[in-house]
């Protein structure tokens, strides 16, 4: 191996340690019996059973999953429809509209959250689960549109024309030709949407009602009161879910071609 390549390997390992060491320590500590993170390590699943018995955590977890599912369904449906429309039709201001889809990804969530809170109070929705869902959908939409549009850009419109020439109406063409082609993009977009919602803290914190919080918000509140290994346990589970979702998304968006 050349010195450059060796250096590259070492660099990569350092980056991975930098990224994953804290997470691995936290995951390890969630299985440690000591509540004060004392070593030597002594295996215990106590914190997981404590967590499962903690009604607040379980309720928040269920709420988080339900919200994420709702957000996924809405954002995927709306985002896919928007992508297909942007792909198929030419209209005035289309370029501007497409350009405007990207800044929300870059705007700090703190700003977005504040703006949404003000907006929802102004129009009378206020705080609560509906506000959280709408807020998450707004955050997740660009991700769905970007992944579906990326997939659509390789779609050959003459396939639709061919299907129509054979007698297929608009609905059949969409269902049998267009959707199967963009399906990997839709799945990837849906997984991104789920992850964005499930991991979301800032916007959820601003928009959820006290006592009605999602899991990340609950964890934050719990930490302020005092750190317990229970939090390590639930955090470990969240990380496992998020990483699984991201792996799936990467797989679909990258290897989603002709299989």
């Amino acid at each position: 191996m050349s010195p450059i390549a060796l250096l590259g390997r070492i660099w990569l390992v350092l980056i991975l340690i930098f990224l994953y060491a804290p997470i691995l320590v936290m995951a390890a500590m969630s299985f440690n019996a000591s509540p004060f993170y004392q070593l030597p390590f002594e295996y215990s699943s106590k914190w997981y059973s404590d967590m499962a018995g903690n009604e607040q955590i379980v309720t928040a977890a269920i709420r988080s999953v339900l919200i994420a599912c709702a957000v996924t369904a809405i954002a995927t449906a709306v985002g896919t429809a928007a992508s297909v429309a942007l792909f198929r039709y030419e209209f005035r201001g289309k370029k501007l509209l497409q350009a405007l889809l990207f800044p929300p990804i870059a705007i700090p969530w703190l700003i977005t959250g504040t703006a949404m809170l003000v907006f929802f109070f102004t129009i009378g929705i206020g705080r609560g689960t509906p506000a959280v869902i709408i807020g998450h959908v707004a955050l997740a939409l660009p991700y769905v549109i970007v992944t579906v549009t990326a997939r659509l850009s390789s779609f050959d419109v003459t396939l639709e024309e061919a299907a129509r020439s054979m007698g297929a109406g608009a609905w059949t063409v969409l269902r049998r030709i267009t959707l199967p082609w963009i399906a990997p993009g839709i799945v990837a977009g849906a997984l991104f949407a789920f992850a964005v919602s499930f991991d979301q803290f800032v916007v959820s914190y601003f928009l959820s009602k006290p006592g009605d919080s999602t899991l990340p918000v609950l964890i934050y509140t719990a930490i302020r009161k005092g750190f317990t290994p229970e939090i390590n346990a639930i955090s470990t589970i969240i990380i496992a879910i998020s990483m699984a979702v991201m792996f799936l998304a990467a797989r679909y968006s990258k290897f989603g071609g002709d299989r």
């Binding site: 050959d156 396939l159 061919a162 129509r164 020439s165 054979m166």
Partner: protein
């Protein structure tokens, strides 16, 4: 009665007039080639007959039905696209069966008819393959089978052979013609390749700037072009300049007409030809040997002329390049000036 009839159709895209009051009839069971340079409107005409474009005015009849306002999927057509447009997510058999499934013919009949269509194009054994596993020529055949499996009223071909290499293209031309005869389907074929048009079709239509310049059997269009464009577009034309007309036997009054010859109608020689033949003097520019055939480029009264003949029929030519070009008077083309 003709199977497809286009009457006074005008189609605009913004300010561009793509079809300008086009009227043309397509005989039942005929093979009709639409020929023209790019931008002439030939593809627009095909896609308007298909139903991808709706004309601003005029009517289109397919079979018994006026269809100018009917969408593509209800016109009962078969179409083959330049890039084949096979569905990548379906097998070959599913591709061919798609039109039948849409028509809900039942799965037993769908399988049987898809199989028959595949056998017609000699691909009966490849039904389970994916389009991505086929060669270019095989995809072509699948696209053809898929276009005719529903027994459409008309088969529309949009430059279907242009993506193939030359050898394969000639094979496919023969195959396409055989299948078209066997099925007896009215076929309209867009191409910019004049040789392909002459090989395949029993009628051709030449388009220019959204208008039909001339339509008729290939031999008639070739031998009796209606204008200079048709004469020059289908085959090569050697134009006679006014100064070269003296002493020639001409089929029409030189006032108001232009005359030309075809490259293969000419004979080249060093000495003046026999009386009774039309002949002009020229200066040989180049002689190109191409195996059996040879091409001579000759300048005649300022016009570039081209002669094509069997190489062995071309005699020894003088070193200074002064030659005679001769042709039978009845081979003179005449078009309005």
């Amino acid at each position: 009665m003709s199977q497809v009839e286009v009457r006074n159709v005008t189609k605009r895209f913004g300010r561009t007039v793509a079809l300008d009051d086009v009227s043309i009839a397509f005989e039942d069971g005929g093979f009709f080639a639409l020929l023209g340079p790019s931008g002439s409107g030939k593809t627009t005409l095909l896609r308007t007959i298909a139903g991808f474009h709706f004309p601003e005015s005029g009517s289109i009849r397919i079979g018994e039905r006026n269809v100018e306002k009917v969408p593509v999927e209800k016109r009962d057509i078969g179409m083959m696209f330049q890039n084949y447009a096979l569905f990548p997510n379906m097998s070959v058999a599913e591709n061919v069966g798609f039109g039948l499934r849409v028509r809900k013919v039942g799965s037993a009949e769908e399988t049987r008819r898809a199989r028959e269509a595949l056998e017609l194009v000699q691909l009966g054994h490849l039904g389970d393959r994916r389009p991505s596993q086929l060669s270019g020529g095989q995809r072509q055949r699948v696209a053809l089978a898929r276009a005719i499996v529903t027994n459409p009223k008309v088969l529309l071909l949009d430059e279907p052979l242009s993506a193939l290499d030359k050898t394969l293209r000639v094979d496919m031309q023969i195959e396409l013609k055989r299948i078209q005869r066997e099925v007896g389907i009215t076929t309209i074929f867009v191409t910019h390749d004049q040789e392909e048009a002459l090989t395949l079709s029993d009628r051709i239509g030449i388009l220019r700037d959204g208008r039909i310049v001339q339509a008729g059997p290939p031999r008639e269009v070739y031998n009796h072009p209606v204008d200079a464009f048709a004469a020059g577009f289908l085959g090569d034309a050697n134009w006679l300049s006014d100064g070269a007309l003296a002493g020639l036997t001409l089929p029409a009054d030189p006032a108001g007409h232009r005359f030309a010859t075809r490259p293969e109608a000419l004979a080249i020689s060093a000495a003046a030809p026999a009386p009774g033949m039309n002949a002009v003097r020229g200066q040989l520019v180049q002689r190109v040997f191409a195996g059996a055939m040879a091409t001579c480029l000759v300048e005649v009264e300022g016009e570039p002329w081209k002669l094509i003949a069997r190489d062995r029929d071309i005699p020894e030519l003088p070193g200074d390049g002064a030659v005679w070009l001769a042709w039978a008077p009845q081979d003179t083309l005449v078009v309005p000036a």
